[in-house]
Symmetry: C2
Subunit: 335 residues, 2 copies
DNA sequence: TTCCGGTATGAAAACGTTGTCAAGTTCGTT
DNA sequence: AACGAACTTGACAACGTTTTCATACCGGAA
């Protein structure tokens, strides 16, 4: 691995000059520039990013903390984050926090020890004070997917209230009156936002969700299976259900099919996330699409700005991205 | 962020001593060690890994190159790789090569510029000479999932021939005679291995797969959909199909269900990979399970050994991990 | 007492960069 | 002809570590 010293020697110039050429910065005469560039080409020289980071505090590296990896949502986030990072010349170092505060802490420590340029958090434990600690170090940090209420830390999330509202309106217009919903854990703010948007809009449309039709679960397939069984034990099924994740919806679908309940003939089903599976199951799931690509784009934009100008503050600290409904087979109008 | 200098000052010792204490290496008196350790504790000092890497060529970082990210298989690999990396104190930097040689090259360049300790490749383009280039730099490199034929670069893959054989035997014992298979792209070695294991074993059992029952596809859902449509146009359907990936199997299932073909009553279906979806669809998929966890464990083991002792060579350059069949609902015996 | 081997410590060089500063050059202006 | 301004270049000090190498100390053997 050639170093800047080798290039300098071979090109017959000083180290400083090589540095200037490769960082493309200052004034250097065309002839010398060409000579250096040629040597760089020949030797395949690449600046050692560790040295660069050590000296100039920018290693072109950003950390991404996720609560889970084998999960369509987060795989999608990784994918778009990697894409954006690549586009902007950053490397991406990923950690799985597993929703465990201890691992969160350890991973952040590691990122700090590596002197990453910035950190993107997807879902911190709500209680965590980690983002503050990071902030103190002066590192740009952005929270995506699960916003936090904080004056100075930018969050990017879906307009969850709006999503709930949208689904509620679709249900109302479809003539549904016996409506159920399976939510994620109510401790999570985004769950409550979705729930409020959904329930308030139904209320406005003259429909109340019965308590036994309002079931709390987790976002996983298994959660959906459990919730489905619970619903099947009731006197009568609702005509439409909104599940706060596609995994939940798939779980519901699975137990309904096992029980001979037809979707959407007996009960309509709408999921959320629009993950790949939603189009693979039969019937294909109607689902609320969140633009994770947009999340990542915005996150990197903010990071990039803050890196250029440390005093930069995004215009609003909480960005809410609108979502949309992807219509497939699992929902039908009653009328 | 306190530096080793700060710790030294606060503890009233030299930089060297602090270094010795934190790297836990040489002889240092208990009293001084304790004093240093306490200061480390109080200040929250963490060694700057960039500096360490610069000086001692070990940044505790390994690179993972994947052809795709939004894909259950690779998400699973990321998950286990992250877990192993974490366990052994490494950071993990991930890149999506998208099966594009140019991006592969660029990513590897980036890893080299970051002076990672080792590289794990999941699927190189078969043509690529990248691994050799990496090898020249003296970096440990391991290829997983899609082995390459190479004297000195260790590969870890499933015993694909064995997998094909296993499925074939299950089909034979189940009394199936009209058998089809949907494979991945035949350019890929692992596809040919699976295919050979499958076909040769059937042959041995007196069954020949008709040419129109032997369809080549890609590993994705869409490939399965296409293949399914193709099969439906034939005079008669096979009684059992092996799909070389679960995504293919799900695609087949989808079009079969749309066409009113019942699984497993009319046709049995077996997938491969045992990804999470396989248990979520109805009927749940019987699938060949590959132990990606084992892949990652072995990969890190080899890397670790090579890092400790650069002359270390794994006993065999191509490791084949046995697979197993997970029985679910999509397969039934004819007899 | 003298000397020697081991142990505990510190000073200083190196790793590969960037950025500051100063020193030449060149060229246009007065 | 003289004087700056602007441009081009190189020396050198960091950045935070690890790793020699040297030094000081201590106790035991001769």
């Amino acid at each position: 691995m050639p170093s800047i010293r080798d290039v300098a020697r071979l090109a017959g110039v000083s180290i400083s000059t090589v540095s200037r050429v490769v960082s493309g910065s200052a004034n250097v005469e065309k002839s010398t520039r060409d000579r250096v560039l040629q040597v760089v080409e020949e030797t395949g020289y690449r600046p050692n990013l560790n040295a660069r980071s050590l000296r100039s505090r920018s290693g072109q590296l950003v950390g991404l903390a996720l609560p889970k990896i084998v999960h369509d949502t987060f795989a999608t986030i990784i994918h778009h984050a990697e894409k954006e990072a690549n586009r902007m010349g950053y490397g991406l170092i990923i950690g799985n926090t597993n929703d465990d505060p201890e691992r969160e802490r350890a991973f952040i420590q590691d990122l700090l020890a590596r002197h990453v340029d910035a950190i993107i958090f997807s879902r911190v434990s709500d209680a965590s004070h980690l983002p503050d600690r990071v902030r103190e170090r002066g590192l740009p940090i952005v929270v995506i997917d699960r916003g936090i209420e904080h004056d100075s830390i930018p969050s990017i999330e879906t307009d969850n209230y709006g999503a709930g509202k949208m689904v509620a309106n679709m249900f109302l217009q479809g003539g549904h009156r016996r409506i159920a919903t399976v939510t994620g854990p109510q401790i999570v703010k985004l769950v409550r936002d979705r729930d409020r948007g959904f329930l308030e809009t139904l209320e406005k449309g003259g429909v109340t969700v019965a308590p036994e039709y309002h079931v709390e679960s987790n976002f996983e397939y298994e959660g959906g299976v459990l919730a489905g069984k619970q619903l099947l034990e009731l006197e009568s099924l609702p005509t439409a259900i909104w599940a706060q994740s596609d995994m939940i919806a798939v779980g519901l679908l699975k137990v309904f099919q096992a029980a001979g309940v037809r979707v959407p003939d007996d009960v309509s089903l709408v999921g959320m996330d629009n993950v790949p599976v939603s189009k693979m199951v039969t019937p294909a799931l109607t689902s609320v699409d969140q633009s994770f690509e947009e999340f990542c784009r915005r996150a990197f934009y903010i990071i990039h700005e803050q890196l250029e100008d440390p005093t930069y503050q995004p215009p609003e600290t909480l960005v809410q991205i609108p979502s949309s409904i992807v219509i497939r087979e699992s929902f039908r109008n009653l009328t």
